[in-house]
Subunit: 577 residues, 2 copies
Amino acid sequence: MSSLEEIRHSLAHLLAAAVLKKYPKTKLGIGPVIENGFYYDFLLPQSISDADLPELEKEMRRLIHLGLDFKGEKLTPIKAKKMFRGQPFKQELIKEFVKEKKSLTAYHTGDIFTDLCRGGHVKNTKKINPEGFKLTHLAGAYWKGSEKNPMLTRIYGLAFADKKTLEDHLRMMEEAKKRDHRKLGKELQLFEIVDEVGPGLPLFYPKGAILRRLVENYITELQERHGYLPIWVPHITKGELYKISGHLDKYDAMYPPMKLKDEADYYLKPMSCPHFMMLYKSLPHSYKELPVRWTYTGTVYRHEKSGELSGLTRVRSISQDDCHVFARPDQIEQEINLLLDTIEEVYKKFGFNDFWVRISTHDPKNKSKYIGDEKVWQKSEEALTHLIQKRGWKHEIGVGEAAFYGPKLDFIFKDVIGREWQLSTIQLDMNLPKRFELEYTDAEGKKRQLVVIHRAILGSTERFLGILIEHLGGAFPAWLAPVQAIILPISEKQKDYADKIFIQLKNAGIRTELNDANESLGKRIRQAEMEKIPYIIVVGADEETNKTVSVRERQKGNLGAMIPEKFIEEINKQAPR
Amino acid sequence: MSSLEEIRHSLAHLLAAAVLKKYPKTKLGIGPVIENGFYYDFLLPQSISDADLPELEKEMRRLIHLGLDFKGEKLTPIKAKKMFRGQPFKQELIKEFVKEKKSLTAYHTGDIFTDLCRGGHVKNTKKINPEGFKLTHLAGAYWKGSEKNPMLTRIYGLAFADKKTLEDHLRMMEEAKKRDHRKLGKELQLFEIVDEVGPGLPLFYPKGAILRRLVENYITELQERHGYLPIWVPHITKGELYKISGHLDKYDAMYPPMKLKDEADYYLKPMSCPHFMMLYKSLPHSYKELPVRWTYTGTVYRHEKSGELSGLTRVRSISQDDCHVFARPDQIEQEINLLLDTIEEVYKKFGFNDFWVRISTHDPKNKSKYIGDEKVWQKSEEALTHLIQKRGWKHEIGVGEAAFYGPKLDFIFKDVIGREWQLSTIQLDMNLPKRFELEYTDAEGKKRQLVVIHRAILGSTERFLGILIEHLGGAFPAWLAPVQAIILPISEKQKDYADKIFIQLKNAGIRTELNDANESLGKRIRQAEMEKIPYIIVVGADEETNKTVSVRERQKGNLGAMIPEKFIEEINKQAPR
């Protein structure tokens, strides 16, 4: 069996062969494997379009059917230069490899095509399923990613082991496109990214702001019900705090300092942990009051590269649902269990049934890599694994994958179109308590060091909303929908009645809109459906006479007429808790 | 009648005379008038303490009774230097005044004392009420405020027209000390300021964080009920935004930029208005959907001087309850009226009955100072005044006090000990809509410029909480109290019953604590009273038998036994709305 990696790499060569056949004057760039496929960069003698891709695919299939062998050959620098004469990008690579003292190899595909390449191919093109790949699209790409270099044409391809997997993937992509939260974010008027403010810094319209708040308030309320208390900390700090925490030297994504004349530098915070630590440290703590369970959903800022930013899922303004538990070592198991309870409750509420857990543990053969008490490591890793197993949750154990300061749980959620997203994290930390000298007084009055547990359920509000929008295709359940119900009077005659119902629902705390625009009922219903409002309430002459409302529920259809109180009761049943 | 200013200034001289009499080798600094009194700085030949002040006061009173005249004398530089021989600080001032070409004058108090002084004194010391002043305390102060200069001893005095006003002021200060929110903030464990984070950046413990949230959520809920919608904007922006708004050149309190290598400078926002403007601008708006009423309670950062910071009332992290209304000019009156409704509702809720309004209008004689349409100015100022008068609210009109871009309302609230605090502001703005080219489409499809109304009810969460803590002396009403009720079982035997009641109250959404510590009931009651918890719930054998709770309400005393459901009902009656 050839690996997908080999198949994809081989297809990149076949693509180059097909391009060279059609456009012999083409200068070749590079053609690596990427997630789900491959690409190849070309300097073409003429411009091409997506319409040219099927012909190239056809040629690639012809080459596959020829049953060509892939064969490697070691090259001397002289031979390499000769072999790739007329290919300036390859010549440039050869020079670099020689300079870096790397070995030079070429790979031949039969006697049809030869590329400068480190290998990793199928033995013969027959190993490639000719129906398992597809050229998808073109894009411009600078040679070596630098604007100073020529712009090349990049041709992208998808490749899988067979036709069905390819088609499933294409369908998933099609579905993902429809659900793209950037597209839905505009259509549903949730958020906007504005040049003058900057990339990765979304601004939220009222509907998006309400959505944010509903999600954040739900988490806050849930946490408090389980015994976690909120704190509040500012968004900036003197650098001193990050000297203590160690971030100042090591954390790359921090924004540069704000340099003052009369005071030390201030920093925008890239995480809130050190602020939590300082607040804990500002009070004395006895063993009796532990665990201290503190939460704070606040926005931190990380200067991610602008090229890596995307909608809400990769942003620079990150509103973390942070929780830190300050616990005695003997409380770790109980505290992790409580954290798992809260995560389980949240996933149930959002309908995230398909998830698994990665347990990252230390490598007992390499103890010097880790700080803290080996007993605490062992005991807590046993507890983590045991607690996950007891709940019957799918999991993987990554031995040696823990950070130097403690074991970790990551929750990976599979969305409705099969994509995996890492959401919640629980991280034990024996480092920050040490750096900040966090203590508690034990029953004998002695100072003892404690363990900190970091936790996020959603990760960040922004990213979570991006994922949730795509998972739900923008159709939020009634408890989360920014607009829960819209009232449509059939004609102008019901305007007063519609107003009355509107006020009644508003006063009952239901997020309601009223559309009495001078347009047909059909048009207004279609618009409400486009906006994915869970309940459409139509009021006509009958409803007014009977003092009822006619309710249509999204997806479920007509629920018939009912008194408004009944509708209020129904919708309130779906409240967050 | 002599002015208070003259009385205070004259007392400063008498203080210097008294000090010189007792410590003839004293070197004199300066002695200005300050709010409510005066001080004088001295380099004393020996250290003194508060215990020395009564003797100085006595001497000052003796001088008052002597009926000494204050007389000015113009001096030549030579005469001045001679007159203040042996007084190095005065010599320094003389040199400066000569350099700056200022005239030199001395003021004589009878033939007892002479000071280098510009004047502003009572004619005769008999004009000073000898019982109307008091020396209050000592402090160290560098000459001219610079650490490089010698440290002088500053003696502070209070002075009023008569004994009663002085005593009222002393009582108020005593009361203010007890209510000091910095002291109560520590005692009630609300917030802390931490060196490593920085001055003016308070961190909130759970009780303070809950208090913040209750206040902010109350305002949010109220606004939404009145038709205002929330938005969300980030805490930073590219400088570009402040170029458009004009703040980059003019706004001093902005933190310096975060300078990136690969991108334009980013700034921490000192206000959210420009973000609001950009979000409005990002969508087309028709006359039909105006007014657009948007709110956002978010934290902005201003680098106030560290010497001016104080607890929560002067901070660098300012969480503003911002509202911006985007309105057609014909909607100004209606929108101001709605804003006044919300302010009135909030003040009623917090029991702020004693307030007045400052109406700042433009100066019609100086039209060139202002931007915007003169008609809009006139109409909106008439509307503002009319609306305030209609409500019968105390007000003052400050002609010419408006900003160049629009008239303004300021609400000044008098707290329970008589101090005035400016809280709410409503500001019309014809400038930002122009700078951001904000428009709406009128009925004919033409683009029209609109008016923006800025508004804050609380001003900022931090400052409001500081004021509220002092106004209430930390005794929050039940709907605002971070802990609404505390359960105290009389003995260990009621522990289970107490737990049951605790869970019942918690589940009813009541912020409850349970204190079953091994301490006497009396001690636990006193502690709960110190923490100013509104309801103390005692459960003993009788309560357990009868399935009741015994409730004590703060200040009101014992309410007797009742079933828990009754108590829940009572406390829920006091919900925010």
